[in-house]
């Protein structure tokens, strides 16, 4: 087995020969097995011998693990090995006590996932209430959301998007696979419709907050 790796020494040309596909599959298997985080195809290509085709190796590997206790799953741009969800009951020992998220945090997370990229004002518009301090903070800290591009509208507000860790946690291949996304879009419920005339907006910040913000404005570029 390990002899195969010594082959390249025999001739210059073989330096550029990729290992056989079976061997590449083993390598991808080893790398993904060793990592708790998803690994992208680009990263795999970087680590495998020159000329390898990790994308193809992944196809083979995925098939090999079908129906096993461990599966090969896609997470955003990455690939990862995860235990089969039907065996969760065996894992009490491993399961981590997840922090109980507040209703506000869960809703904010869902709104970001389904409406991304979304600004804070839009989240507030949808929930009809201002986003409490610390909610965004918490979601960033859990690495479930991150900052996206700024919106090209007046004030260039920052937007929020979900992360690969979010996809990984909820077992999603991509944000397109969010449950019910298509139906929601078809029903027009993911549009941001401007309210006709003056609707009461989500809560203006508490006055003391206003004052503090006012001051900080002075310091902004």
């Amino acid at each position: 087995m390990s002899d195969e790796m010594e082959q390249p020494e025999t001739g210059e040309e073989s330096l550029f020969d990729a290992p056989p596909m079976g061997e590449q599959e083993r390598m991808v298997e080893a790398v993904l097995f060793a990592s708790a985080e998803p690994v992208s195809v680009a990263e795999l290509a970087e680590r495998l011998p020159h000329g390898s085709d990790p994308a193809e190796a992944l196809v083979h590997l995925r098939k090999r693990y079908e129906g096993r206790g461990v599966r090969l799953v896609r997470v955003g741009d990455g690939w990862a090995m995860r235990t089969a969800p039907d065996l969760g009951f065996l894992m009490q020992k491993e399961s981590v006590e997840t922090r109980k998220l507040s209703r506000a945090a869960i809703e904010t997370l869902a709104i970001i996932a389904y409406h991304q990229p979304v600004t804070r004002a839009e989240i507030e518009e949808i929930r009809g209430v201002s986003v409490s301090r610390g909610t965004i903070d918490l979601l960033i800290e859990m690495e479930w959301i991150r900052f996206g591009r700024r919106r090209m509208t007046p004030g260039r507000p920052v937007t929020f998007v979900v992360t690969q860790e979010f996809l990984d946690h909820f077992g999603l291949e991509s944000a397109r696979d969010l449950p019910g996304l298509k139906e929601l879009r078809a029903a027009g419920l993911l549009e941001s419709r401007p309210p006709p005339g003056a609707m009461p907006g989500p809560g203006t910040e508490e006055p003391e907050e206003e004052a503090r913000e006012g001051q900080s404005e002075l310091f902004e570029d």
Binding site: A34, V129, G171, G203
Partner: protein, 261 residues
């Protein structure tokens, strides 16, 4: 119980009880939209067919009741109440000719849309949280092997660290807005502008340093710049015949006074 506050003819006993439970639970609501959504459930129809007029009345009854029980409601709730009262009047009265703004129907439709969207997001959130989740239903490698590039000593810093560091710097007390450092430079124009109105009062010989503005006297760099600018300005003023300058000896204080006409 001020039951007459509710339109008891329109609401059944169970609905009334439900509405009263709401009052008790007022802290449990996440804002007026949330409350409206809960109220709309009592209509027991598809959200798309909800009667906005009835909903407005339910909401107003709720507010009235809360007021009666002297429950403090956040301003948001009262703003919504005012808006719904307005909406109600628009829905009930025929539009006056020349009326500006959206029709009652448009406003009602938007409110219905908001409620439907909020309900949808809530349901989506529930479905999301009910998914198989990492660390509960499926698991990552328990004993991952660290993979590193050879050269690395890994330094850790998170985005939070970065932003907090920045916030820390930018909120220091001595912070002043950053400009390409012009803070320590005074131009002759600035000095002229400052001195012109002042020299009218300088009947007596006055040390030039007295004209240095507040905040430019201590810091050496700023003092130097202000001094140079003020001196240049005083030469300019002298050339225009507005002041006289004198210096008794080398390095003695430079003094100026208003020219005597």
């Amino acid at each position: 119980m001020a039951e007459d506050d509710f339109r008891s003819d329109a609401l059944s006993v169970s609905e009334r009880l439900a509405a009263e439970a709401l009052i008790v639970d007022v802290d449990g609501f996440e804002g007026p939209l949330d409350l409206l959504l809960t109220l709309s459930r009592t209509q027991k129809v598809d959200l798309r067919r909800v009667s906005v007029l009835q909903l407005a009345e339910q909401y107003l009854a709720f507010i009235e009741k809360a007021r009666h029980l002297r429950i403090e409601l956040a301003a948001d709730y009262l703003v919504m109440a005012a808006w719904l009262a307005f909406l109600k009047s628009r829905l009930l009265l025929p539009p006056e000719p020349g009326d500006e703004g959206p029709s009652g129907e448009e406003m009602a439709a938007h409110l219905a849309f908001q409620l439907e969207r909020l309900a949808a997001m809530r349901e989506a959130a529930a479905r999301l949280m009910a998914r198989d989740r990492k660390g509960r239903d499926f698991f990552a490698r328990g004993a991952p092997e660290t993979v590193t590039r050879k050269r690395e000593v890994r330094y850790q810093a998170t985005l939070l660290d970065l932003m907090q560091a920045y916030a820390r710097i930018r909120t220091r007390d001595e912070f002043r807005p950053f400009v390409m450092d012009r803070e320590a430079i005074m131009t002759m124009e600035q000095a002229l502008e400052r001195m012109r109105p002042l020299i009218g009062y300088a009947g007596e010989w006055t040390d030039l340093t007295a004209y240095l503005p507040e905040g430019w006297q201590r810091d050496p760099a700023r003092r130097r710049s202000a001094m140079a600018a003020s001196f240049a300005a005083s030469l300019e003023l002298a050339r225009a015949g507005l002041i006289e300058i004198e210096q008794r000896e080398t390095f003695a204080p430079i003094r100026i006074r208003k020219a005597r006409q």
